[in-house]
């Protein structure tokens, strides 16, 4: 089992629905977020290219966040989901420093919080909240170990890229070109 996400930048309109859906699903306090949108524009008028990227924890295979955690609160759960055990987190922030994607934040209740791939939903056989709300159907979630999963097929048939591959973390969020 290896959970991953693919996001088709040809369809994303950068509306931010994934951000709000995550906040309401996961009880993320207002003013904080586990996912976010960036806009990338290239070229000169009128020869332009623009796309949005919905970004979040990359649930990396090689996890500097987990490695640097002094208490073991950051850990890799089933399916490769990178999580934080809130009760064990002392809020030292080492993982926040270590993450090349800036995907973690201090929760006002005194621990570090981040995307969980909505594992409570995944266990129920549902997609993460961001995936299931997206009005452009640009996100795909699934198991890379299953060659017949939609995500495996997409990654086999389409061109894709990952963010900051040079960090060597083997990120598991793939952007379909």
């Amino acid at each position: 089992m290896r959970y991953a996400m693919a996001i088709d930048v040809n369809k994303c309109v950068g509306c931010g629905d994934c951000v709000v859906a995550c906040q309401t699903e996961n009880n993320v306090p207002i003013g904080y977020s586990r996912d976010w949108i960036i806009e990338i524009t290239k070229g000169k008028y009128p020869d332009l290219m623009m796309h949005f990227e919905s970004q979040r924890c990359n649930h990396c295979e090689d996890t500097p966040c987990v490695r640097t955690c002094p208490t073991g609160a950051s850990f890799i759960d089933e399916g490769g989901i990178v999580k934080v055990e809130h009760d064990e987190c002392i809020g030292c922030g080492a993982c926040i420093e270590a993450c090349p994607y800036d995907a973690r934040y201090f929760h006002p209740d005194g621990y570090v919080d981040k995307c969980t791939f909505c594992d409570h939903r995944v266990k129920e056989g549902l997609d993460p909240a961001c995936v299931s709300v997206c009005p452009t159907y640009c996100m795909y979630f699934g198991d890379l170990d299953d060659p017949d999963s939609e995500i495996s097929k997409l990654l086999n048939s389409r061109e894709w890229y990952t963010l900051i591959p040079e960090a060597g973390t083997k990120p598991q969020i793939f952007y379909l070109k």
């Binding site: 509306c15 009128p46 796309h51």
Partner: protein, 758 residues
């Protein structure tokens, strides 16, 4: 009472200082929204109640989830719903913030004035406020007649008040959603096809091969179901052509972007017709069978060559020809999208008619992949006595001047409410329901004078907006999550209905619109029209007439009904399809327009240019906001609360601007924006225009028992384009207000800064 300026206090807030609270007040209230819990709740641990969204007119059906304590936790689209297919847009997902917003109006408020003439509001009980409203309505009736009370309205609350006033004897009403938005488009299509488009537009995007967007901004507008269909279209590899002075979100997703010079769209449309007709790319059989006036059209468009249009629009003629051929190749599975907010340049009925004509010659109307024929369920009206006939109505204000003013025109009601109006149809009192006419109706100074000239104003709202400050009585309405409204019965491929039912009790002392309207009605002696205790009874009665019930709808939320007529024109095989026009055909040449003295075929006329040093003001939408209504909504505010002014690098150089710099805007009439906006230097816009999102720049403030009430987050953020729209070009066919012919210059120094005496 003397000739005191009754609404004097409002000016205090008129030119307030900018750059307020740097820290978001939201972080302090987060715990109000969700109790901190160990883990998120599973859907199975919550109760779900059917609703349909009120954050925009798309009205997506959804489920409101409440936890064991009865607290609203999330809103998720109803899978059965063709508007949302189970996926709400960010505004719908964040709609729970409308309920949680601590800045909401909480209690009825009555305007009071102290002995110095200082005005503020005091809290009141509902009975007192409602009695006072009925009393004042009767007073205006005695002086001027019932018709002199006008209604401005929007959304699903509006009709409760429209009906109440109609029962009473006033039919003087209008919606900004019509005359400031889509009436021109409806008129253009009615003149051509004998029917308008209504909502959701019956564009068969799901099946189209070529979608042409000319001033439509999907992805920035979140017309949910259609955004979804466009996504599926991208998967299928369909062609999208976007015409826009900005490199919009959809332009970035398009095969072809035509960065047109603003105001010249009609020239492009006519040139496309020229190419499509002269290169015989049109649907000959369809044109032959269903249209009237093709020969006149052909002759008419000869002068509108792509080369001519190239010089007018600044587009490359080769691109005009290429895109025309793309449409021709896709015919009839092609949609030249009619747009929605089409009140731009004062010839908007003609421009949208050109769109209608172009679709017709490509054979797209009533065709798979073009426009389907929608159907909706007609719910019988709950029985009530016949309506009294008013001596005059909205029609008398508009239809003499504008033959296609089939709905009330807000700007005409405003004219009739001004002190200088001396004719017979005076407007002397107003109900303003769920619409902030100071942001939606242009020429705000005129609107303010009209408001000042009223003897009585009632505002029904959930939030303190600009217009609430002008009320004599403010009635706090419950939000959509707290109330029942009419059944949503909207047109679609498959007729369907949806239920909005309260998931929670109204917070504070707020009340649902139906209750407020009924209580006023009862005080006006209209009890025969309100023979029900609760609105549930009305819905249940209506639902039973179509074989459903309130109980059933509470369970399923959305219900489908079988179609009764074919969805596409080709399926009408027994008899020729008849269009509701004079000729029974699609009128490429409009016989009505010829008779009424309007151009029977669209004619391009250049629009006024701005003075030297001024840039065209283009306003638009953000996907996470519904204009001014959501800027203060907690999650949505967080998503975007810093609007930016798009300027091309050339403009930035000219004005010596840097990214993120704070600027103010001024129009040629000297009107200066109240607040500032930050600059975004971007290649994504032409050098002759600036762009900002509509709905920001809130400055509404009221004082209640000495305490200031306002939208605490949205207040003072960004510029309201409506302040700068001083010039409107009136559409002759409808009276709609063309608002895109306004120009601004950029000020880098704060024009409101007070001199400091040292």
């Amino acid at each position: 009472m003397g000739k005191l300026n009754r609404r004097d206090f409002i000016k205090i807030s008129g030119t307030a200082t900018v750059g307020l609270a740097a820290t978001s007040p939201l972080t302090e209230i987060w715990q109000h929204i969700f109790p901190p819990e160990e883990r998120p709740l599973l859907d199975s641990e919550m109760t779900k109640t059917s609703t349909y969204c009120e954050v925009c007119f798309w009205n997506c059906a959804a489920w409101t989830y409440t936890d064991k304590e009865g607290k609203v936790r999330k809103i998720i689209g109803n899978q059965l719903d063709p508007h949302s297919n189970g996926r709400l847009c960010p505004r719908g997902t964040g709609g729970l913030g409308m309920y949680f917003d601590e800045d909401r109006l909480k209690k009825p408020l009555i305007r009071v004035s102290d002995k110095n003439g200082k005005q503020e509001f005091r809290e009141a009980e509902w009975d007192e406020a409602l009695d006072l409203i009925a009393e004042n309505m009767k007073k205006i009736e005695r002086k001027y007649g019932k018709e002199s009370i006008a209604l401005f309205y929007h959304g699903k609350t509006g009709p409760h008040f429209k009906h109440m006033l109609q029962y009473w004897g006033s039919n003087t009403n209008a919606k900004p959603a019509s005359s400031q938005c889509l009436i021109t488009r409806e008129a253009g299509f009615i003149a051509t096809y004998g029917t308008g488009l209504a909502s959701p537009e019956p564009t068969d995007i799901k099946n189209t091969d070529c979608l042409v967007l000319i001033g439509s901004h999907f992805g920035e507008n979140m017309h949910n179901g259609h955004v979804q269909e466009i996504s599926h279209m991208i998967d299928r590899g369909g062609t999208i052509i976007t015409v826009d002075p900005r490199f919009s979100t959809m332009a970035a997703h398009s095969s072809k972007w035509l960065p047109i010079k603003p105001s010249t769209d009609l020239a492009l449309l006519l040139a496309w017709m020229n190419v499509i007709i002269n290169e015989e790319l049109y649907d000959k059989d369809y044109v032959e069978q269903y249209t009237f006036g093709f020969d006149q059209l052909k002759q008419h468009v000869q002068k509108y060559t792509p080369e001519w249009a190239g010089s007018v629009t600044t587009l490359n003629p080769a691109d005009i020809i290429e895109t025309a051929r793309m449409m021709g190749a896709a015919s009839p599975r092609v949609i030249i999208h009619p747009g929605r907010h089409t009140a731009w340049y004062g010839d908007d009925t003609q421009r949208t008619r050109a769109i209608a004509i172009l679709n017709a010659i490509l054979g797209a109307w009533g065709r798979k992949g073009g426009f389907y024929f929608p159907e909706k369920v007609k719910l019988p009206k709950h029985p009530h006595p016949p309506l009294p006939k008013p001596a005059w109505s909205f029609k008398d204000l508009s239809q003499e001047r504008h033959k296609l003013a089939f709905a009330g025109i807000t700007n005409h009601i405003i004219e009739h409410a001004l002190p200088e109006y001396t004719g017979p149809y005076k407007v002397k009192g107003m109900f303003i329901v769920a619409t902030n006419i100071l942001q939606s109706v242009p020429q705000v100074e005129k609107v303010k004078r009209a408001l000042q000239n009223q003897e009585f104003i009632v505002v029904v709202e959930t939030m303190p907006s600009e217009v609430t400050g002008y009320a004599d009585i403010i009635l706090p309405e419950a939000t959509y999550l707290e109330r029942v409204d009419d059944i949503r019965t909207s047109q679609n491929r498959i007729p369907n209905i949806a239920l909005r039912y309260p998931a929670v009790e109204p917070r504070w002392d707020t009340k649902p619109g139906w209750w407020i309207a009924k209580e006023i009605g009862l005080r006006l002696g209209l009890k025969d029209y309100y023979e029900y205790e609760h609105y549930d009874e009305v819905l249940d009665w209506q639902l039973r007439q179509v074989g459903s019930s309130l109980e059933e709808m509470k369970e399923i939320g959305v219900k489908y009904f079988p179609r009764k007529t074919p969805m596409y024109i080709d399926e009408y095989t027994d008899e020729p399809y008849w269009f509701n026009t004079n000729t029974g055909k699609i009128e490429l040449y409009s016989t009505d327009f010829a008779e009424w003295g309007y151009d029977p075929l669209p004619v391009y006329r250049p629009k006024p240019e701005g003075p030297a040093g001024y840039l065209r003001l283009i306003y638009g939408r953000l996907p996470m906001h519904t204009f001014g209504r959501t800027i203060n909504t907690p999650h949505l505010y967080e998503l975007r609360h810093e609007p930016v002014l798009w300027v091309h690098p050339k403009v930035a150089k000219l004005y010596d601007l840097t990214n993120g710099q704070e600027v103010w805007l001024k129009n040629p009439k000297g009107k200066v924006s109240n607040f500032s906006i930050k600059v975004r230097i971007t290649e994504r816009i032409r050098h002759d225009s600036v762009y900002l999102p509509h709905g920001f720049g809130h400055k509404g403030k009221i004082f209640v028992d000495g305490k200031e009430i306002k939208m605490s987050r949205a207040y003072g953020r960004g510029i309201a384009d409506s302040e700068l729209i001083s010039d409107v070009l009136i559409d002759p066919e409808t009276g709609g207000t063309g608002m895109r012919n306004n120009f601004v210059t950029i000020l880098t120094e704060n024009p409101h800064k007070k001199e400091v005496v040292s």
